[in-house]
């Protein structure tokens, strides 16, 4: 069979899949669906039992059969399906299973559920009502033995629980239908031993034999009623999530059934009671069934008598015996249609409303034709229709639309926060429809804007609607794309924490990660649409709207900008997130805690380190320790590391330790330099990324949470007392001590716990802390994964010194005084840029440092700073002044020219350092800082902020040739042919400046 055939099905043709459908009710269900134009696929074993049904169904073009061997291939190839009927009750006719068979069945159900969810289809699990009754009786009666572990009762119980849990987790449209014992003319053998024996006795013997008292209870249903019930309950929406009993209204005892059979003039004429050796001592049937199907509109069509007659006829046919049913014994009934025709409340209302109009028209028909009256009516009608179409409909439509949009928006907010994908999608669809409708309504009222000379308002309104349409279209894709990540965040339970090394769970989240990857194109589209919407809405002229709406429009502008930023960030991050979370293999990351009060190249003095291993979205390794313990361990192992040449020259050290590994300012360099240390410490052969956090970042979180309780600490740790706590521990630190490590591990653990216990809304609330910390470099990250590196680097979150920094100098401090003097420093940076012509640019840069320390006592003291200034490698140095004893070295490193020397500031003093250099366009135009394209000159001024530096004052002055026409000042102030800016350098800054130049 054919996937090919399946994929040719017209989009409007519904597709149903019936698992275990090779039985009488499955056949009737399939046949009914096919008759209604539905495409049906049955999945079952092909054997002598199923053959007769499948051969019959195969005559139809709208039918296909799959053996269980092709189960996976079906779901892999099928593009969609709408309904899935899982006839578990067929499987349950077998009493016992082996473990393999049991597991296979549950696995099949699980996969079927997952595919139903994927296709957003309706699912009906059909199980056995008698088995459920038996289970309940066993539970209620302790005298009865428990079912064997792989019995049909256990299988039903397991499958029903599995389906219900899946429904709760994924909110699929699922119901469980417990069907009674099926009888009818197509049922060759009733699937109930007692009733089967009754029927056999009735047709073959002179006496019906009843074991025991015959008071055991049976629930029966005719095959036609069962089929109709299964379809009715599946199609009805209010059955979603329900467990329903589908059987005749009345229950029957064995005895009453036997009497009924005697009434039908069967072979047997009397009843014989015999002792039941397998009596199960059921004193009272305590079973309370699930709500009946009648509650959902199902009506029993075939009464017991008719059903038994059909069933008896089948049993007689089976033994080739004729049966003369007495006329009197079967009361003939006129067939009752299951279809009732009525009027809805709205229909009744409309009918009542239009009754007089109908009468009016009847009267009109009788009237004679009057041309004058006709034209009057015609003109009136045209006038009324025009009024409706061009006035009333646009106004009324807009009002209705706005109300509906308002409601949908509220519902959408709730459903998004509750991670209800289906509901969110529905709300978005409603929003999209209503925005489209309002847009059409507004189009019809253009004439009003035209005659009132409000074309600007019309244009801005249509733009607002277009922007809204794009936003909603983007949001629709975004919801689908974001769902697996949201689920991952919600479901994530770490297997390890900072205190224990024994995994608490084996759960992995690979499926979520793969789904994130698979949804990337949706995200691409979402980002595109939202980006367009953002541009459109940002360019709206707010002043053209009525004053009452202007504040709302401004809010919308703000909101769409945030949405765009968020979507872009998310889009870019999904390209690497699964890999970073170890979708294919384990990834290992180094975490460094820096203390910025003693500044070093990447942000501060390294105090502690941690290693985290992630695989399948789960934390598989977690370790944290004091960095001086690591140094001590390596020293004991007699490990030696050669420091970089520039470090040897500058700091005059010969051995490199892990605590000094952040010599290079670029975080990627620190990552690669850390690998040998981490390897020798036995924490992994390679690292995939590096994350640095500093004290300020932790303080920001604590400030937001008003402190946090840390085990072992008598007081709540807040942003205020945390610094002093670390200071104190550092002063008391002795190699091998664990006081600081324990405190930091406990603190980190509490922070991680707090973060993981937050819902999406709370996480969004603290997202600004992460964003701010990343921008200000209190939190930094770099990765070997190219996409991840680009993502963090392009946002200035990776402290990377890349090709963007091809003009302004970069100052890197290294506090080598063993104190926290950086807490007492104030700095001023001045940068003077003079663009001589399109080929020459001069830079004059100065740093002034004031040390307000009052004493040479820890943490205060002289600022002993090894200063490095990174400038473009092709720069010609014009002047250097301010280094101690005017001694400095110049060398090339990491693609830059570096001017390095000691630039110290003693307590209570102010010092200045100056450096001037020139950039000239070389023969190779590519890397020069001024870029000419067509008639334009582009100059991207990029200022680098060293991680860990406080906010210091920065001043930029730029002059350019007077013949150049400024097109974009990049945010700097412009006077004549000069640009200037005064600000605090709190993060990396970029100023894209554009001129139009004469030919």
């Amino acid at each position: 069979m054919s996937n090919l055939r399946l994929n040719k099905i017209k989009p409007q043709t519904p597709i149903s899949i019936i698992v275990h459908g090779g039985n009488r009710v499955g056949y009737l269900t399939a046949k009914t669906l096919i008759d209604q134009g539905c495409y049906v696929v049955i999945i079952d074993k092909f054997n002598s039992n199923t053959k007769k049904y499948l051969s019959e169904l195969k005559k139809s073009e709208l039918f296909d059969f799959f053996d269980f061997k092709g189960f996976n291939s079906l779901f892999k190839n099928i593009k969609r399906f709408d309904y899935l009927f899982y006839f578990l009750n067929q499987k349950l006719s077998q009493k016992d299973f082996d473990s393999k068979e049991f597991l296979n069945e549950t696995k099949t159900l699980e996969e079927t559920l997952a595919n139903t969810k994927k296709n957003n289809a309706k699912f009906s699990l059909i199980t056995s009502l008698p088995l459920n009754r038996e289970l309940a009786n066993r539970v209620n009666n302790i005298k009865l033995s428990a079912p064997s572990p792989y019995s049909n009762i256990e299988l039903q119980k397991y499958c029903e629980t599995l389906a219900a849990e899946f429904k709760d987790k994924s909110n699929i449209n699922l119901r469980i239908l417990r069907v009674g014992t099926v009888i009818g003319k197509g049922t060759e053998k009733v699937d109930n031993e007692i009733i089967d024996n009754l029927l056999k006795d009735a047709t073959q013997k002179s006496q019906i034999t009843i074991k025991g008292e015959g008071l055991d209870v049976h629930t029966l249903i005719h095959e036609a009623d069962a089929t109709y019930g299964i379809l009715k309950l599946t199609f009805t929406d209010n059955t979603k999530g329900e467990v329903i009993s589908l059987a005749n209204k009345n229950n029957y005892t064995t005895l009453s059934l036997a009497y009924k059979l005697l009434e039908l003039n069967t072979e047997a004429q009397t009843i014989r009671f015999v002792e039941n050796p397998e009596s199960q001592f059921v004193i009272q049937d305590l079973y309370v069934p699930a709500p009946p199907a009648t509650k959902y509109g199902w009506i029993q069509q075939v009464n017991l008598e008719e059903a038994l007659v059909e069933q008896l006829q089948t049993y007689y046919d089976d033994i080739n015996k004729s049966w003369d049913i007495g006329e009197a014994s079967l009361k003939k009934k006129s067939p009752k249609s299951p279809v009732r025709v009525g009027k809805t409340k709205l229909g009744e209302f409309l009918s009542n409303l239009f009754d007089p109009v109908k009468n009016t028209f009847k009267k009109e028909r009788k009237a004679e034709f009057n041309p004058k009256k006709f034209f009057t009516i015609l003109l009136s009608t045209v006038g009324l229709l025009s009024f409706t179409y061009f006035v009333l409909y646009p106004i009324l439509g807009t009002i209705i639309g706005l109300v509906l949009i308002n409601n949908s928006t509220k519902d959408l907010t709730t459903s998004v926060l509750e991670l209800d994908e289906a509901k969110s999608k529905t709300n978005i669809e409603n929003l999209e429809k209503n925005i489209d409708r309002i847009s059409d309504s507004i189009g019809n009222i253009y004439w009003l804007f035209y005659i009132t000379n409000n074309k600007d308002l019309y244009d801005n309104t249509t733009q607002l609607l277009l922007g809204s349409q794009y936003t909603v279209q983007g949001a629709s894709e975004l919801i689908t794309a974001i769902y697996p990540l949201s689920q991952y965040i919600q479901d994530f339970q770490p297997a390890l924490d900072f205190q224990t090394s024994t995994p608490t769970t084996t759960r992995e989240y690979r499926e979520y990660l793969k789904e994130i990857q698979a949804n990337s194109y949706k995200l691409e589209e979402a980002s595109y649409k939202i980006s367009l919407a953002s541009e459109i809405i940002k360019n709206l002229d707010t002043t053209t709207f009525p004053k009452i709406l202007q504040d709302k429009i401004l809010e919308v502008k703000d909101l769409i900008t945030k949405l765009e930023e968020g979507t872009t960030t998310f889009k870019e991050s999904t390209s690497f997130l699964p890999d970073l979370l170890g979708v294919d293999q384990r990834k290992r990351y180094l975490i460094l805690l820096q203390n910025e009060s003693e500044i070093r190249s990447t942000g501060g003095w390294l105090t502690s380190y941690g290693v985290v291993g992630v695989e399948g979205g789960q934390i598989r390794e977690l370790f944290v320790d004091d960095i001086y313990n690591a140094d001590g361990t390596l020293r004991i192992q007699n490990k030696k590391y050669i420091p970089p040449k520039s470090m040897v020259n500058g700091l005059e050290i010969t051995d490199w330790s892990f605590s000094l590994v952040n010599w290079y300012p670029d975080l990627l360099d620190t990552l690669s330099e850390s690998e040998p240390f981490v390897k020798d410490l036995g924490k992994g052969n390679s690292l995939d990324g590096l994350i640095t956090i500093d004290v300020t970042f932790i303080q920001k979180l604590l400030e937001k949470w008003n402190g946090i309780e840390v085990p072992g600490e008598s007081e709540i740790i807040t942003s205020e007392n945390m610094y002093s706590k670390i200071f104190e521990m550092h002063e008391e630190f002795t190699p091998g001590s664990t006081q600081k490590t324990t405190f930091l591990a406990n603190l980190a653990n509490e922070i991680v716990k707090r973060l993981l216990s937050m819902n999406i809304g709370e996480l969004i609330e603290i997202s600004d802390i992460f964003e701010e910390s990343l921008s200000e470099k209190h939190l930094q990250a770099t990765f070997k994964n190219r996409a991840a590196y680009t993502f963090f680097s392009s946002r200035n979150w990776a402290n990377s010194l890349d090709a963007r920094y091809n003009n302004a100098p970069i100052a890197i401090d290294w506090n080598w005084g063993g104190n926290k003097a950086n807490l007492y420093l104030d700095k001023n940076y001045n940068l003077n840029i003079s663009i001589k012509d399109k080929d020459t640019v001069d830079f004059a840069y100065s740093i002034t440092t004031e040390n307000s320390s009052t004493k040479s006592e820890y943490p205060e003291g002289d600022y002993i700073n090894y200063q490095r200034i990174y400038i473009p490698s092709e720069a010609q140095i014009l002047r250097i002044n301010g280094f101690v004893d005017n001694e400095y070295t110049i060398y090339k490193e990491s693609g830059f020219k570096v001017v390095a020397g000691w630039f110290n500031t003693p307590i209570q003093s102010t010092k200045s350092l100056e450096i001037s250099y020139r950039l000239e366009r070389g023969s190779e135009n590519n890397s020069f800082t001024l870029n000419t394209q067509e008639q334009n000159m582009f100059f991207d001024l990029s200022l680098f902020k060293q991680a860990g530096e406080k906010k210091h004052a920065y001043r930029v002055d730029l002059s350019y040739p007077s013949t150049w026409n400024l097109e974009n000042s990049g945010g700097l102030n412009s006077i004549s042919n000069q640009l200037s800016g005064r600000f605090e350098l709190n993060e990396d800054l970029h100023f894209p400046i554009i001129w139009r130049i004469p030919n």
Binding site: P356, T360, F387, L396, G443, Q473, Y521, K645, K892, Q933
Partner: protein, 216 residues
């Protein structure tokens, strides 16, 4: 029936008609009426891949290989999937592109599929707009953030640009991005439509210069 009753029914009628007009999907219904449907299902989509062929699927349906032009699709949003035909099976990833087709317009996908999921080229399509002016509009978005957009050699601004009002005419659009190959493409702006131009740029391979460490 009295006049006041008639008036009441007329008022009620036009209110109901207004509400009905709001909820009635007029375009969708008209698009299903024979003869009229040809005015509603007349989009065309041209798909071209540079330097090699690709298999084409639209909403899961196989449309053969590039170059191909698919005509008479109903307006709406479509998922176009392109898989480069190559001996290196795992070198090129299948590309999924969402595109919106508007009636009476044509759209074009002109891409080169590169390894590691990178693309170079353009996607062009029109969407209808409502405006009081006689101009059409231009929207440009690049996969490289901050790419520079030039219109007839004049620098416009950095991407994205949305709904820039332009007179009906043919223009030349150039999009450049640092470290990436540029795109130069002719476009036609039409009244009552916004032309959407999506550009993708191959990165220019980096050449490394060895810097010797030296002291001056």
């Amino acid at each position: 029936m009295t006049n006041s009753k008639k008036l009441l029914f007329i008022i009620l009628g036009i209110f109901l008609l207004s509400v009905l007009l709001y909820f009635l999907p007029l375009n969708s219904l008209l698009g299903k009426i024979p003869i009229l449907d040809r005015f509603y299902n007349n989009t065309s989509l041209e798909i071209v891949t540079q330097k090699g062929k690709a298999k084409v699927w639209i909403d899961g349906k196989d449309y053969g290989e590039t170059p191909t032009t698919v005509q008479d699709l109903p307006e709406g949003s479509y998922l176009v999937e392109l898989e480069k035909i190559s001996d290196e099976k795992f070198f090129y990833e299948k590309q999924s592109i969402q595109i919106t087709l508007t009636r009476n317009t044509s759209a074009r996908i002109d891409l080169e599929i590169g390894p590691q999921n990178i693309l170079h080229g353009v996607i062009i399509y029109y969407t209808p707009i409502k405006t009081s002016s006689d101009n059409g509009m231009l929207t440009v978005i690049s996969n490289v953030d901050g790419a520079k957009v030039f219109l007839d050699k004049e620098f416009l601004k950095a991407s994205p640009i949305s709904n820039l009002s332009l007179r009906e005419n043919q223009y030349q659009v150039k999009v450049t991005a640092e470290g990436h190959e540029e795109i130069d493409v002719p476009i036609v702006i039409s009244k009552n439509y916004s032309l959407n131009l999506k550009t993708y740029h191959f990165p220019i391979p980096t050449t490394f210069d060895t810097l010797e460490e030296e002291n001056e």
